[in-house]
Subunit: 134 residues, 2 copies
Amino acid sequence: MLHSGGKRLTKQRQLALDVLQESAEHLDAEAVYARAKARDPKISIATIYRTLALLKEAGLVEENRLGEEHAHFEATRSTPHYHFTCLRCGRVIEFDTPQVQEAIQSFCTREKIQLVSVQLLLSGYCALCRREEE
Amino acid sequence: MLHSGGKRLTKQRQLALDVLQESAEHLDAEAVYARAKARDPKISIATIYRTLALLKEAGLVEENRLGEEHAHFEATRSTPHYHFTCLRCGRVIEFDTPQVQEAIQSFCTREKIQLVSVQLLLSGYCALCRREEE
DNA sequence: TTACCTGCAAAGGGTTTGCACTTTG
DNA sequence: CAAAGTGCAAACCCTTTGCAGGTAA
């Protein structure tokens, strides 16, 4: 998979991928760095960024911008899914619906688009944080 | 609308909103600044950023991150719409589908979510830029 | 062996902020 | 007149890059 482009599978790259695949959450570069560093104290944040870009290009990792913040990453999963972020507590809820898939599919067919990535991000207030009309 | 929170309607704010409402494209802060500056040479980029944040909060302007780049802004329109960005030529195609709306609606109802914003961003290659399997 | 990769530290670029001055309401 | 907003320039923060020394294949 990585080898296709003359890319090497170094221990740093394996480590970054492991960190993401073992995590249920969406980690930002700093968080991946922290977890990787716990197992390889020599690893640098520059390598983390370079590796994340590489893994993303290889399709092994997806980048999304939750909230309005900086980038977050997660290991690619078999089924596509979308995100909701609570503006108050920061909780992220994932969801998936075939309707969205179908709508996107038909748009791409109609426009002759070759789809590479899909990001659907909702934001607002979750059940616990919402304020009823005050 | 702005007045609700003791906010003032200054000429700079009006100008920034005008710029966005008159533009068909998605402008980034720098572009809004350039166009505003043409009419008010004294305006500063800091005011543009502060104003964009304010207008967004007021619901008059929407922010989206097209491509993977920095923020772009557009005046809020009556109907929600989504974006596709071509990774090669940068072209942005807008689209809308009730299916997506419905799916989002039902997710929010189920999760008791108070929705504030929706961003659906597709990326890939447009009809003109796609490379058939090489 | 040799292209590719890493760590370090410095640079980059979009965005935000502190402060003194101006303006709106 | 008081509170809010502006312009300027410096600060910020996430991310990228140049380079000299390592390392996978």
